[in-house]
Symmetry: C2
Subunit: 339 residues, 2 copies
Amino acid sequence: MIVLDWLAKLLKLPDNFLSTGQGGGVIQGTASEAVLVVLLAAREKKACQIGGIYPENCRVLKTDSSTEYALSPDALNEAIACDIATGLIPFFLCATVGTTSSTAVDPLLALGKITKSYGIWFHVDAAYAGSACICPEFRHYIDGVEEADSFNMNAHKWFLTNFDCSALWVKDRNALIHSLSTNPEFLKNKASEGNMVVDYKDWQIPLGRRFRSLKLWMVLRLYGLQNLQSYIRNHIELAKQFEELVAQDPRFEVFAPRKFSLVCFRLVPPHNDKDCANKLNHDLLDAVNSTGKIFISHTVLSGTYVLRVAVGAPLTEKRHVIAAWKVLQDEASALLCCG
Amino acid sequence: MIVLDWLAKLLKLPDNFLSTGQGGGVIQGTASEAVLVVLLAAREKKACQIGGIYPENCRVLKTDSSTEYALSPDALNEAIACDIATGLIPFFLCATVGTTSSTAVDPLLALGKITKSYGIWFHVDAAYAGSACICPEFRHYIDGVEEADSFNMNAHKWFLTNFDCSALWVKDRNALIHSLSTNPEFLKNKASEGNMVVDYKDWQIPLGRRFRSLKLWMVLRLYGLQNLQSYIRNHIELAKQFEELVAQDPRFEVFAPRKFSLVCFRLVPPHNDKDCANKLNHDLLDAVNSTGKIFISHTVLSGTYVLRVAVGAPLTEKRHVIAAWKVLQDEASALLCCG
C-alpha cells in the first residue's frame, strides 16, 4: 500500500488513486492481467445486462498516421454510437500511452470525457511509457489521467525492477473487490473480519499472491527519484541519437514520431513499391538478427512493415547505439547491392 | 516442457498428458489461475451456446460425512440432470483431490465417466495432495485421472519449490491455445511462424511469463525422487502422530478422516451442544494463535467448526508436533476450566 502510494506520487497521479481515499494501488503480474482485472470490475458494474465478452464484442479501433497512430475521439464516438444503435452496451475502454507497436499516445482527456458521458470504465495502459512520467518534461503524456478509472504501468519494463511487477491503480477499490473477492471459511480470521487488513487477494485473479512490493521498495530506496529520472532521460536521449543517425542516411526514413526510447523506421527502396519495401525490410530484419550482434523487432503500421529499435537495458551506452546502427547500415548495403 | 514431462512421470500421469502427444504441461502461478485457464478452454469448446459464467451459473455441490466430504457421483448426476432440464448446458467439472477444507478425495473414475457421457470438461485440482502421489502407496488417490481433461498440482505447496509454481497438464493443448492465443505483429518471428517453438504465452492468461521451470528442475535434481518421497512420507507420519495424540485425549475428537498431512479435529464440550461447541472451538483457535507459539486454522464441515493442523514446513520435526499438541491441550484446559 505504501510503496504504490509512493509510486503514484512520483507519477503525480490524482489523489483519488491513493489508498488514503476510495482508491488504491495493487501489484499485478503483467499489464494483460491488469486489464483483465479491471475489465471484470467494469463488467460487474453492468453485470445484469452484459453476457460473456467474446471476440466479436471487442472493438479494435483503427488509427493512422494522421493522428500519429493515436486513437481519435471521433473514431471512439462513432464506434460507441454504432454499438448503441444495434442494442449493445459499451462498458470498457482501454486507451494506451506508449502503445507497444509505435509508442503512440492516446488523447486521454478527450477520450475520458466521452467515456464519462456514457458511464464507460476508462482504463489507461501505460505499461511501458508510464515510467517516463516520473520526469516533469514527460508527465504531460498522461495529462487527462484524472478522467481514468484505472491506470497501469509496468515497473518491470523500464523502471529497473525485475519481472514481474505491474502496478495497477484504481479510483474505486470496491469495484475490484466486489467482482473478485472470495471468502472461504478457512481464510477467515480476526484481522480480515475486523477490516483491519487489506486482502489483496480480492484485487486480483489468483488466490495466492507473491510479495513483490519489496523489490519495488528496493529500487526506490536504492536509486531515488533523481537517479531514476536520469536513467529514463538517458535512454530517451540515446534513442534520439539513433533517430538522428537514421534521419541522416537518405536510404532510411523515420516512420513514426519518436516520443520515448523506441524508434520506428525503415529502409526505403529506390523504387518505393509497398510490397517490395515490406519484403526488403523483412529481409533486413532477418539479416540483422542473423548476425547475432543485435536483436531488433518489427511491427506493421497502416500496412507498412516497420523496424523497431528500443533502448531499454540498464547497461546500454552510446557506443552500443552507434554499433547497432553500423550493423543496420552494413546489412542494408549488402541487401541493396545484391537486390 | 522437459521438466513438466519429468514431473508427470513421477506422478505416473497417463501418457496423453505428456508433450510427446497432443497434451502437455505448463507452469501457472496458482491453482486458481490453472482452473481459470482450463475453464476458458472448456467454455470455448461450447462457445456459441454459452454466455458469461456468472455466480448463478456455478454449482457448488454439497458433500457430507457419509462420503467423507467427497463429491458423490449421484449428486453430480442429479445436478447435471436438473440443469439440462432447465435448458442449461453443463460444460465444466472441477473435482478435488485433497480439498483445502478437509483433504477430501473425490472419486475421479466415477465422476470422469459421468462427465465423459455429457461431453463435460473434467478438471482435477490436486493442488496440495498431488505431491503425495509421487509415493506408490498414495498414488491411488488419483486413480481415475486418466478420465480427466486436465490435472493440476502446486509444486509450491508441498514439493519444496518456492511460490509460485503451479503445474497444469492438459490432454489437448490445442484447446488451450485455441482459447488463449494472441498473435500481435511485433511478436511474430521465424521460430514462432515456423512452429519451431512452443509459445507458452498461448497457454495462460497474461502475455508476459516468468521462467519458473528452473527452480522446479533444481528441486528435482537436488533432492531426487527418493528424497522427495521421504519428505512427503515424513510429513504424513508426523500428522498421523498428531492424530493419535488427539485420539488419546477424550476431550477431543478427530472430525474427518486424515489422509495426508492435515488433521481436522475439535474440542468436544461436556454438553455437546452444536452452537456451544462451535464457540468453544472458535475460542480455542483464538487462544492458541494468541500465544504466538503456533498458528492453526479452521474450517466448517456440515455446520461444525473444526480446527486444522497441517504439517508442511521443511524443518518441522516430531518435537514441534508434540509441542503444538501441548499448547492445544493447555489452552483447552484453561478454557474448559473457566468456561
